[in-house]
Amino acid sequence: MSKRIVVDPITRIEGHLRIEAVLDENNVIKDAYSSGTMWRGLELILKGRDPRDAWAFTQRICGVCTTVHALTSVRCVEDAIGAQIPPNARIIRNLIDVTQHTQDHLVHFYHLHALDWVDVVSALSADPKETSRIAQSLSAWPKSSPGYFKELQTRLTKFVESGQLGIFSNAYWGHKAYKLPAEVNLIAVAHYLEALDFQKEIVKIHAVFGGKNPHPNYTIGGMTCAIDPNSDNAINIQQLNMVKKIIDDTATFIDQVYIPDLIAIAGYYKGWLHGEGLGNYLSYGNFPQTADPASGLWPSGAILGKDLATIHEIDLADMGQVQEEIARSWYTYSKGDQAALHPWEGETNPKYVGPDLPYEYLDTDHKYSWLKAPRWKGNPMEVGPLARVLLQYAKQEPMIVDTVNGVLGALDVGPEALFSTLGRTAARGIECKQTAGFMSKFYNQLIDNIKAGDYQVFNNDLWDPERWPKECKGFGYTEAPRGALAHWIHIKDKKILDYQIVVPSTWNASPRDGKGQPGAYEAALANTPMEDPEQPLEVLRTIHSFDPCLACASHIMDMNGNEITTVKIV
């Protein structure tokens, strides 16, 4: 007899996500349904505004991957009006962006994902001496003495005994799917706390160049953070030294804490290789090295059916490539609900036809999500770190090939292990090591330019809208921590006529499309056995391995700015 479980809200993510899953008599997931349950409607809000302000509005789509929408937006407007930015601005933007990737991945691993693998309560019974021995065998990280772990354990014991468990309340401690020895759990708890403290240091780089984090400032035409090594009111050596120190400390933390923990934890779960999913991967590329957006250190391309030998080229302007469907989403299209529309011709007419509130189950045979279903040439695609790592692996990028092979070797598994929940989690760590390296690369590029006497960070040529074409269109893209992100704009008479965004989590969290093809979460959950359907630990593992960001996902922008119709509750 099959049964249906509901996990709503999914916690340790950004935004509001609901999963419904149908299990067979052996508690194996047969079908899963992913539903985004919020919508903010920014498309109408952007209409008619100054395009130079768009970065600030779109940045508020997400405060977790803060910065990526702002960056994509300034690229988009600059593409439309034909503005060029100085090399220093490109480098600083890359540095802010890569800082975001590194910090975001670290926070994801420890604070949003680790508790799917780490049993906090089990850490209470760890032997501090043995914990210290294991920690020192894993890495040279200095905080690893028996005394350090003993003190932490005492604190933790008191905390648990207080009865006020806070964020650890009523969770799945003792669940059979937890496999780590008590000592490894204790190490992970120690690093959960250390990472919580350290993440706030990394983003100080945003404050130096963008004034604050979350939500640092951008501007079209470059950046506003003046550089002058001989001024006491611009970025000079004191601030650059701070940036340099943060970069060095970050690399150390990734190398000595994150990567060793990832390998140690994965070693106990390599028998749990569920969550493969679609086998289709998409990436737009990022970190341009010249004025050409395609000059990125990260390549663009699509992989279909796990075939790494064939990389398909991507064109965001091709009306037949990126398209959005709404057959199973709470929207209507004027051409009918089976239509697939490119962002340039997109529509957003919300129409809720789900059950009356409050409800127990959604009507998953029909429409069941506020997310649309983006498809590439009709295919559902997975985006994110695994897509990027596979693409670079396929293209033989040496650093990635070495690191991937190193991790696979350390775990004693073959490359097929990458196509799994654990593979997704490992790819994020591998990528984080790469981005920590990029931080220092971009810093050095900036220093070289300043040394050569180039202080320019802003180009004023097209600041004044009087100098813009009367009407123009453009798009900008990046790879956000969670995957491929693009914005499209249509400017008329110095104002935003239309604005459209297709974000990473809409790809990954999408519901089924007109052909009934599931989205990436839905496909990855299928065939997963659950120890205890009442305690959805396995569901959380796989969903978290994608690092969901639902506020992003549900901010679909409407290219044509259609009026929102009245929603009927049926």
Binding site: D8, K204, K212, A226
Partner: protein, 363 residues
């Protein structure tokens, strides 16, 4: 949930010496800008109070408030959530999900009637029965009302919960409204900003824990300790404003010399926040220091207060160092009508102006 501990007990259990505990208490008082004489009261409070449960709800938002919160440097987030409060329910950090997670909320509402804090990030869409934000199969609006019922007080994090923020900008497609439009019978502290500064967020909570009452609020329910003055009043670029030395474009000499950003659209003269004093990310910088004009993100309706790079209405500049130049405006460009408040740029008059001269429009 039965055994209740005090801060001092937790500190002691952590092996923190009394000397260090006292040092910690005086640090808190410094960060709150309090007189040293108050330190003993903080110590007493920390020694005798159990950890207050906090239920942190997320409505329509972007989670930047949570992200800012965990950037706090004094106290650090780990100390805040593990030792000072009991953060029992928070979408972003809780280990439990689904119905196990919801059980926590119900249990706290029951066991700690009138003794828990409801913290809200984001806001509620009222249109169409609230279908634009649903949690656990119910509308966020109904969940908010239900959770507020037994709360001791409500903290509205960020501009979303306080004033409406971006989803409430024109034409507000989902009918999003700030929390005080829905919850009418509880004390509410508004902590605006997009997001608010980390130490302001942790400061609001520590104030409550330490003194046992909410901080004093202005007429927009903002704590006076953090929203008492305008950015402009304490901006380090103010001497350039007074001297009439302005950045004219982001690539000119004034940019590199750190001149005033007024002409680039700076909303510092109309924005109440602590950016120019506490600054961001442990005092690293703030928007104006990185050369970008303030966009006024802690003000009601700031998304609709005119384009960010359009200067506040024309000002007859008297290049003087007397500080007597008058800025007769408070809105942007053509949209100035109806909101004109006579702002005087001197520290003396400013004290009287305070927040009462602030537009009250929600937005």
């Amino acid at each position: 949930m039965k055994k209740i501990e005090t801060f001092a007990g937790v500190f002691k259990a952590r092996g923190v010496e009394r000397r260090d505990f006292l040092k910690f208490c005086s640090l808190i008082s410094v960060s709150l800008g309090l007189a040293p004489a108050l330190v003993p009261r903080i110590v007493h409070a920390m020694e005798h109070k159990p950890r207050i449960p906090v239920l942190w709800l997320h409505g329509l938002e972007c989670t930047c408030c949570t992200e800012s919160f965990i950037r706090s440097s004094h106290p650090i987030a780990a100390d805040m959530i593990l030792n000072m409060i009991s953060l029992d329910y928070d979408d972003t950090l809780n280990a439990a999900a689904g119905h196990q997670f919801e059980e926590i909320r119900k249990q706290i509402m029951e066991e700690y009637k009138g003794k828990y804090i409801l913290a809200v990030e984001g806001n509620a869409p009222l249109k169409d029965n609230g279908v634009y934000c649903m949690v656990g199969g119910q509308s966020f609006t109904s969940m908010l009302k239900e959770t507020a019922e037994n709360a001791m007080a409500v903290i509205s994090w960020g501009s979303c919960a306080s004033f409406g923020c971006v989803q409430n900008a024109k034409p507000n497609p989902t009918g999003a409204v700030p929390i005080h439009k829905i919850i009418k019978n509880k004390p509410i502290v508004n902590v605006p900003g997009c997001p608010p500064i980390a130490e302001v967020m942790t400061g609001v909570i520590t104030h409550l824990l330490t003194f046992g009452k909410l901080p004093e609020l202005d007429r927009l329910n903002r704590p006076k300790a953090f929203y008492g003055t305008r950015i402009h009043d304490k901006c380090y670029r103010r001497p350039f404003f007074d001297a009439g030395m302005f950045v004219e474009n982001f690539d000119d000499e004034g940019t590199r010399k750190g001149w005033c950003l007024y002409k680039m659209g700076c909303k510092g003269p109309t924005t109440y926040n602590s950016c120019s004093t506490i600054m961001w990310n442990e005092g690293t910088s703030f928007p104006i220091k990185s050369g970008h004009p303030c966009i006024g993100c802690s003000e009601p309706g700031f998304w609709d207060n005119g384009p960010f790079y359009t200067r506040l209405a024309e000002v007859p500049f008297v290049a003087s160092d007397s500080g007597a130049d008058k800025v007769g405006m408070y809105a942007v460009g053509a949209a100035a009508a109806g909101m004109a408040v006579h702002a005087v740029g001197t520290a003396i008059k400013k004290a009287k102006n305070d927040s009462d001269s602030n537009p009250t429009q929600e937005g």
